[in-house]
Structures are given as structure tokens and as C-alpha cells.
Symmetry: C2
Subunit: 130 residues, 2 copies
DNA sequence: TTAATAATAATAATAATTATCGTTAATATA
DNA sequence: TATATTAACGATAATTATTATTATTATTAA
């Protein structure tokens, strides 16, 4: 059991993620942090993001565009992904537990959580395209 | 518009996918097809899988383990992923349209589909671990 | 039967992520 | 406070999954 040591880089990554509502990739976070810490390494960003996920302080999303996205909001909610621009928006979620229980009856095993990705076209892209 | 030409490799990939209930990765399919066509290339497997997805004949899944998985069943259903062994099991799905509509009210844009991944531990792993 | 071209195998290239490793910095303890 | 321990760092190499390139082969239309 290695004990955690404070690092200003990790703190910066976490507060960056908390302050924004988009769901940035590791690379986008890297670009953002570099404004304050120009020497930070991309590896450091990845390592800390994964660490924060393990600690349950942030959430990792795989919406299907190849890159992992990160979400500072760990409360249960859903995501909407625009097929056009790839933006990710939060959706409120009701009855998370109930949905797990409904699915549970079909499974030999235990369900503890679920992630739902909704796909479509966001309002901005709809207005652009037309 | 390029017209499609028959290929025995594509046919083999498709029937392989139809015949199995696990949700193999491109690499797993590659290994399987190689028994019949030892010279097939991994690139061919990827190209045909993506083509079949475009044609709507198969489905691509990103359950979160890094690799894409493929599913020969395109009817609407959900998936359960075991955190231990990574196996993917099908779940029946009711009210797919209703769920989209429920989410729709929170979105500026249009929702046309959704994918839900349930996470937990499968029965086999539960019995092994204990 | 031949011409046109889609699909192939082999391989190179790319993108995202993880691992390695010598150095730096945070923290525990003497 | 000084020192020892070791987590975390930056730089970079390696890995993994996937896509692109290209010369050749196979399918299909004329």
C-alpha cells in the first residue's frame, strides 16, 4: 500500500476538471494545464487522471470516438453525444438504482452500475446544418 | 458510389460473427478466421468489420476495455460487462423508444439511439472468487 | 475473354495510452 | 532542522489498437 503524496500537478488537473462542463480528453487537459505549468508531461496527466478515477474522484467516459474523456462530476447522470461535433452534454438521471435492478433480473451475477450514452445531433449542429 | 463486390473473406467474417454469442474483438475474429483462411490479413478483418457496421449488418461496441468489440446481433438490446473477466453478455431491452423519448426532454437536439453498458461481476467470477 | 475495378495481403503509419527511468520534491522521522 | 525514504515528476521509449498505402489478385460487367 503506497501512500499518496501531494502534487500540485494532480491538484491542478483535478480543479481543471471540476471547473469545466465539457468532458475533455487527456490531451485537452494537458493543453489547459500547460498554461499554468508549461513543463508538465502528458504522462503525468494520464497517470493522475487514472489515479483520480481509481480514487473515485472523477469518471472516465468512452463515448466511442476513440479517445477517453474525463468527467469531474461523479454523481450518477447520463451523457448525450452529438454525432456531428462530438460534444458531450450531461443529462439528469432518475432511478439509477431501479434501472440496475431491472437489468439485474436478467443477469447471472451482480450489477453495480451502468453507463448510458445517448446519440443524436445537438441543437447547435441542427441549426448550422439547416 | 462504389459497388460492393463479393468476397469470401467478408462472408466468413460475417458468418463467424453470426455464429457466436460472445462479442469478439477484431483480433479474436482474425484468429478465428485464420483457421479457414490462414493468409487473411488483420487489415482485411478491420476493413470488413467497419464495412459491415456501415451497412448496418453488425454493431460496434465500446465497453470500455480499450478494444472495439463486434456484435452480430443488431436488434436493440443491452450489454452486461463483467469487471473481473471482461465477458460481455446480452440483456433483453424493453422500451428502447420510450427511453430515448424520456431523455429527449432534457436535450437541445435530437436523440436517435442509445447504448447502455451495465457493469458488475458475472456469475462465473462470483463463484470462482468466493 | 477481356477490361474495369473492388478487395486482398503485406506492410507502414498513426493515434492513444502505458511503461521505463533517472531526477525532483513531499513527507516522515531522527 | 536535517536527513532518509519514496511518491511523483518530466522525458522519452514502448505498446496497443486501428487506419492508410500499395502492388497484386479476384470478382463482375461488357
Amino acid at each position: 500500500m503506497k501512500q499518496l503524496k501531494y502534487s500540485r500537478q494532480r491538484e491542478s488537473i483535478k480543479s481543471c476538471l471540476m471547473s469545466r462542463k465539457d468532458h475533455p480528453t487527456a490531451d485537452a487537459i494537458y493543453a489547459s494545464i500547460r498554461e499554468e505549468y508549461p513543463n508538465i508531461s502528458l504522462g503525468t496527466v494520464y497517470r493522475n487522471l487514472n489515479l483520480l478515477v481509481e480514487l473515485g474522484e472523477i469518471q472516465k467516459l468512452r463515448c466511442g470516438d476513440g479517445a477517453d474523456h474525463f468527467d469531474g462530476d461523479t454523481s450518477p447522470h447520463h451523457h448525450f453525444i452529438c454525432r456531428e461535433c462530438g460534444c458531450i452534454k450531461d443529462l439528469p438521471l432518475s432511478d439509477s438504482e431501479k434501472i440496475n435492478q431491472m437489468a439485474q433480473q436478467y443477469v447471472d451475477g451482480t450489477i453495480d452500475s451502468h453507463i448510458t450514452y445517448f446519440y443524436g445531433v445537438c441543437g447547435d449542429c441542427l441549426r448550422k446544418t439547416s
